[in-house]
C-alpha cells in the first residue's frame, strides 16, 4: 500500500485575535522589520500514513483534523500530502 507523508497546518480562524501572532509582530517591528503585517501563528503537524490512494489519505487526514488536530470552533486546517513510498 502506498505511504504518504501529511503536513497538516492548523491556524486560528482569520476573524479570531491571534495574540501570539500580535506579540511576535510587535517584536519584529521593534527589530526594525517595520514592513511586517498580519503575523499569524499556527501548528505544523507531520505524520506518515498508509492509504490505498491519495484521496483516501486526504479524507483520513481531514477526519483526524476535525476530530482532534484542530478545534473546528476556532481553527482552520490545511492538508498537504506527499507520496513517500
Amino acid at each position: 500500500m502506498p505511504q504518504y507523508r501529511a503536513t497538516i497546518t492548523v491556524t486560528l480562524r482569520p476573524a479570531i485575535l491571534d495574540v501570539q501572532g500580535k506579540t511576535v509582530e510587535h517584536a519584529l517591528h521593534s527589530l526594525g522589520f517595520s514592513e511586517v503585517r498580519h503575523v499569524r501563528i499556527g501548528k505544523h503537524i507531520t505524520l506518515d500514513l498508509d492509504a490505498p490512494d491519495e484521496q483516501t489519505a486526504q479524507e483520513r487526514c481531514a477526519q483526524m483534523s476535525q476530530q482532534l488536530l484542530a478545534n473546528p470552533v476556532v481553527e482552520d486546517y490545511t492538508i498537504a500530502l506527499e507520496e513517500t513510498a
Binding site: 486560528l12 479570531i16 485575535l17 495574540v19 501570539q20 500580535k22 506579540t23 501548528k43 482532534l68 488536530l69 478545534n71 470552533v73 476556532v74
Partner: protein, 234 residues
C-alpha cells in the same frame, strides 16, 4: 450527597475540589479516575477539576476529553445530572462539546493569577441555586487560556437562553472592559448548557471556600448543590 471528582494526569485542583465539597454540610467527596469506565451509582454530581491535564498538549483539554471516563460523563450529563467544570475542567467540557464555544489564549498573552469579581447571571443551575441574581463573588482565577470565544450566533443564543452564568465585573458589579481579565466575549466567566445542568467556569470557587484563604464566596456554589438536591432533586 456524593460528588465525584475526576482525576486526570495533570489535574492539580482535584484535592482543593475534594476539600471544598467535604467541608460543605450535606456533601461527601470521592475521587474518580480518568481511566474508569463507569461512574458509581451513588455519585450525584461530577466535577472536572482545574489543572493542566495531559500537559495541555495540542490544546487545553483536547486530550483529556478522550479519557475513558468521558463518554460516561457525557451520559451522566444527558441524564440531567449536575456536571461542573472548573478552569481546565471548563476547557475539557468545551472540547468534549458538552458546552459550546472555546477557551483561547488570554488577550494579554500572559498567565493571570489573581482575584476577580464575577456577577451571578443565572440562578437556575444546580451550582447557583442559593445565590442571588446579580450577586458579586470574589474568586481567584489562574489561567493562560481563559478567553471565552463563541461565534456571534452562539453568543446570541447563550445570552437569549440565560446560559451565561457568571460575568467578570468591576468591584461595583459593572461589566467593563477593564474588568475583563482575559478578553472573554461579553465578559463571560462561566456558562451552562441549554438544560442548565452542565456548568463551566474559569474562576476557582474551590479555592475560595474558607476565610483563611481570603474568601468564602466559593462556598455558595457547593451549598447550591445541596439545596438543589433537597429541593429540586434529580
Amino acid at each position: 450527597m456524593k460528588v465525584g471528582i475526576v482525576v486526570f494526569p495533570g489535574s492539580n485542583c482535584d484535592r482543593d475540589a475534594f476539600y471544598a465539597a467535604s467541608i460543605t454540610d450535606g456533601l461527601e467527596a470521592e475521587f474518580l479516575w480518568h481511566g474508569d469506565r463507569a461512574i458509581p451509582s451513588d455519585i450525584e454530581c461530577v466535577v472536572l477539576p482545574g489543572g493542566f491535564s495531559y500537559g495541555d498538549y495540542l490544546r487545553s483539554g483536547a486530550i483529556a476529553r478522550f479519557s475513558r471516563i468521558m463518554p460516561e460523563v457525557a451520559r451522566f450529563a444527558e441524564r440531567g445530572k449536575p456536571v461542573l467544570g472548573i478552569c481546565n475542567g471548563f476547557q475539557i467540557l468545551t472540547e468534549a462539546g458538552l458546552l459550546p464555544g472555546a477557551l483561547l489564549r488570554n488577550a494579554q498573552q500572559r498567565f493571570i493569577c489573581r482575584r476577580v469579581f464575577v456577577r451571578v447571571e443565572s440562578t437556575s443551575t444546580p451550582f447557583t441555586s442559593v445565590l442571588a441574581h446579580g450577586q458579586l463573588l470574589s474568586l481567584p482565577i489562574a489561567h493562560g487560556e481563559g478567553r471565552y470565544y463563541a461565534s456571534p450566533d452562539v453568543l446570541e443564543e447563550l445570552e437569549a437562553n440565560g446560559q451565561v452564568v457568571f460575568r467578570y465585573t468591576d468591584p461595583n458589579g459593572a461589566v467593563t472592559l477593564e474588568a475583563n481579565p482575559n478578553g472573554s466575549a461579553n465578559n463571560i466567566a462561566g456558562i451552562s448548557n441549554r438544560a442548565g445542568n452542565v456548568v463551566g467556569l474559569m474562576p476557582h470557587p474551590e479555592r475560595a471556600c474558607q476565610a483563611l484563604l481570603g474568601s468564602e464566596d466559593g462556598c455558595g456554589i457547593f451549598r447550591s448543590l445541596v439545596h438543589y438536591f433537597e429541593n429540586v432533586g434529580v
